[in-house]
């Protein structure tokens, strides 16, 4: 196949509205998209990678203005097109796949109609031909039973199937360029592996140029032909995938690659003669949603005879895909939801049997770190209040609580000035540190971390993981660490429990689990983790 340049981006400069943290979202960026090749644009959040994609699709927010440079495609500069010319181009010559398939699809429209709309919008084909084409497309992206699927609504499909439908829609008019903005970030790892393979296959078969935006180096390693690394809107490095991944030149690229956790669990000293701080026995929880008059009630077993214990000073990992019930287990252990059956013991206390004031008293022994650093801090309270509210509710003298909060901020690596500020003044990683300080303010014995690092960029993720590990060792805490990311679990957990549909299918020390996974589901999970070939190559 001839390697012809499909899109050439030259010296692109996109100006942000004044008052932002930097004048340009994208500053002097140049790269080419080549037919039949996948270009991965990598960077942390705020690096301007999505802005590049939106500029290429003509979907820039109206307060972001192109200031210089050009995007050459089909002999014209895309930055100078008017809306009419864009409409003719979008979908037909350049198509896009979005991150969140649930919100990118119209929930009230059948899948088939949404895809056929692509032809309709460009005035192509007759309705019968459109339908026939749609069925063909759905078959091509591997959706089961295409004749029936075209009549399905988005909510009737799984996340992976919805993303397949999105891809079918993008491919409908055989575009020359496909822009994929984090298309697998919202998906489970096994689904992600399938979608990546699908994009790779389709791109080869149709000789498309693909611009693939991601923050995940594992995905880059699996799919990229070329890589562009962005930092603060500037290209710091670009080149062939192997060159960038195995022989990174720029320090930022090296730092990013070094921050990606490996699949090898580090050596951990065995924990002997420790007492159990948490004992979970036969925990059951079934969610029942009411059926209407014409449909039966639906029930989901989020926890099915869940059984584990955590030793003092130990980190137990709970891994699984979305819907496996791992977050429900965390909330059951915290008593944010009530179990149908089973007990949670903290030391000698039966945590599930108490209520009211006794429960509020005992809660200080087990604290939680939440997933979303933006939703877990009250936007209208100062950081100092957020941290001291808990201790003060437990009768600690306010002055002492504030002093302790200052010490804690130091412990999690923030300075005292943070006490008087509001959460929105902090970055995601800093907010997560505040969340950790809040959890530590009550001197708990156990920390429950529910996807505590999933929303963070990889370099920040590594810092927060180190902080958690360090604090745990220094304060002698036990930890229940919930994650969907096996690499993260490998780095921090002493033992790991694998959950599938509410059942713990395997529970083993981390090293043993990674070297010899037994359960077929565990093996499937391990096989789907992206970027394993390259990391073994690098090793």
């Amino acid at each position: 196949m001839p390697a012809e340049t499909a899109v050439a981006i030259r010296d692109l400069k996109l100006a942000l509205p004044p008052g932002g943290d930097r004048p340009f979202a994208v500053d002097d960026v140049s790269f080419d998209l080549t037919a039949g090749k996948i270009l991965c644009v990598v960077g942390e959040s705020g690096s301007g990678k999505s802005m590049c994609a939106h500029a290429l699709m003509g979907l820039l927010p109206d307060n972001v203005v192109p200031q210089a440079g050009e995007i050459r495609f089909d002999g014209q500069n895309l930055l100078t097109l008017d809306q009419g010319a864009w409409r003719a181009l979008r979908g037909r010559r350049i198509a896009m796949v979005f991150q969140e398939p649930m919100t990118a699809l119209n929930p009230l429209m059948r899948i088939g109609n949404q895809i056929a709309e692509m032809f309709e919008a460009h005035g192509l084909l007759t309705p019968a031909e459109r339908k026939q084409k749609t069925v063909g497309l759905l078959r091509e992206v591997g959706l089961p039973d295409p004749e029936r699927t075209i009549r399905a609504y988005p909510h009737q499909l799984s996340g992976g199937q919805r993303q397949r439908a999105m891809i079918a829609m993008a491919l409908a008019l055989e575009p020359a360029v496909l822009v994929a903005d984090e298309p697998t970030t919202a998906l489970d790892v096994t689904t992600q592996a399938q979608i990546l393979k699908l994009i790779r296959d389709l791109q080869r078969r149709r000789n498309m140029a693909v611009m693939f935006i991601t923050h995940d180096f594992g995905v880059v390693a699996d799919i990229a032909d070329r890589v562009v690394v962005l930092q603060h809107g500037k290209v710091v490095e670009q080149g062939g995938a192997d060159d960038v991944l195995l022989r990174p030149q720029h320090p930022y690229t090296r730092a990013l690659l070094a921050a990606v956790p490996t699949m090898q669990p580090p050596q951990r000293a065995p924990l002997l003669n420790r007492r159990k701080t948490v004992e979970v026995v036969g925990l059951d929880k079934t969610y029942v949603s009411d059926g209407g008059w014409f449909q039966p009630a639906r029930s989901v077993r989020a926890a099915n005879q869940v059984h584990f214990d955590i030793l003092q000073g130990e980190t137990l990992g709970l891994v699984g895909e979305s819907g496996s019930g791992k977050s429900s287990v965390a909330r059951l252990v915290m008593r944010l939801i009530e179990p149908d059956q089973g007990t949670v013991r903290l030391g000698d206390t039966d945590f599930t049997a108490i209520g009211g004031k006794a429960l509020r008293q005992e809660r200080r022994r087990i604290q939680m770190i939440f997933q979303d650093p933006f939703a877990s801090l009250n936007p209208r309270r100062k950081v100092g209040n957020i941290i001291t509210d808990g201790p003060i509710a437990h009768g600690v003298d306010p002055a002492a609580a504030w002093q302790r909060a200052r010490d804690l901020l130091g412990l999690v690596g923030l300075n005292e000035g943070a006490m008087e500020r509001f959460p929105h003044e902090f970055s995601g990683g800093q907010r997560q540190r505040i969340g950790i300080a809040r959890a530590l303010a009550l001197d708990p014995e156990i920390l429950v971390a529910d996807e505590a690092v999933s929303a963070l960029d990889v370099s920040v993720q590594a810092q927060v993981l180190n902080l958690l590990d360090d604090l745990k060792a220094r304060l002698g805490l036990s930890m229940l660490f919930i994650t969907h990311d096996l690499r993260v679990a490998a780095q921090i957990c002493d033992r790991i429990a694998v959950m599938q549909r509410g059942i713990i299918v395997e529970l083993k020390p981390a090293a043993a689990l990674f070297s010899a996974p037994e359960h077929p589901y565990t093996r499937e999970l391990f096989a789907a983790v992206p970027g394993q070939i390259s990391s073994s190559r690098a090793a």
Partner: protein
Amino acid sequence: MTQFWRMLLRNPGGLIGLVILAITIAVAVFGPLLFPASPWRMVQRPFLPPFTMASLPLGTDALGRDVLAGIVYGARVSLLVGLVSTLAALAVGIPIGAAAGFFGGRIGDALMRFTEFFQTVPSFALAIVLVAVLQPSIVSIVIAIAIVSWPPVARLVRGEVLSLRTREYVQAAIVTGQTNGWIIWREILPNALSPVIVLASLMVATAILLESSLSFLGLGDPNLMSWGYMVGAGRTVIRQAWWITVFPGIAILISVLALNLIGEGLNDALNPRLNKGGR
């Protein structure tokens, strides 16, 4: 906070509304200094047309009373009733809505059925009955208006609380062992307040209208001059003396319009994402 004021003042409608409201308040506060005599006093011959005498620019009504003095004194009644009855409605609606939203389950259902009971009764009819039963007075009017206008507050607050209580920071407050009352007061209500403030500004306008309607029907406080009463009293002679009804009517129109403009401005200032450009 300063940003909030900037946003509010940048909105032309909100600014106009604030100016009109400020003038109305000034008139209500300083009016008695300009018109020391009672608005009920007869000062000239009846049916004096407006713009004929410099001392009585808006003319006199059927009994020779000064229309302008009536409007000035009416502003006091309207603003007082609007403000106090709205505060009373908030005092009832916010706790009920917050409790229904936070506790949910049976408590929530019971509270919401109770709220719906009030909502199903036509509000104006209920207000008439309440005022008639309690004897017309400024207190009974405030009570009646508060009773018919709290249900929307309760429903709004319930909806906000329902969505806020699943937020992670609320769960964090539960996990750190804080009491329910504290969580509702400190964590939830401050974040639920913006739409309530907007609703409240519109409720003041509705309350002014309700008070005028009650007075129009003769159910106003017999000792207080109010805009609704003036419109009602002038209704029978509207063909001969249009000014008796039109000027108080304009006063009602302008003050209600001002409050609606302020509500709109508040909405834009408190939910900046809805109106600002940028997709």
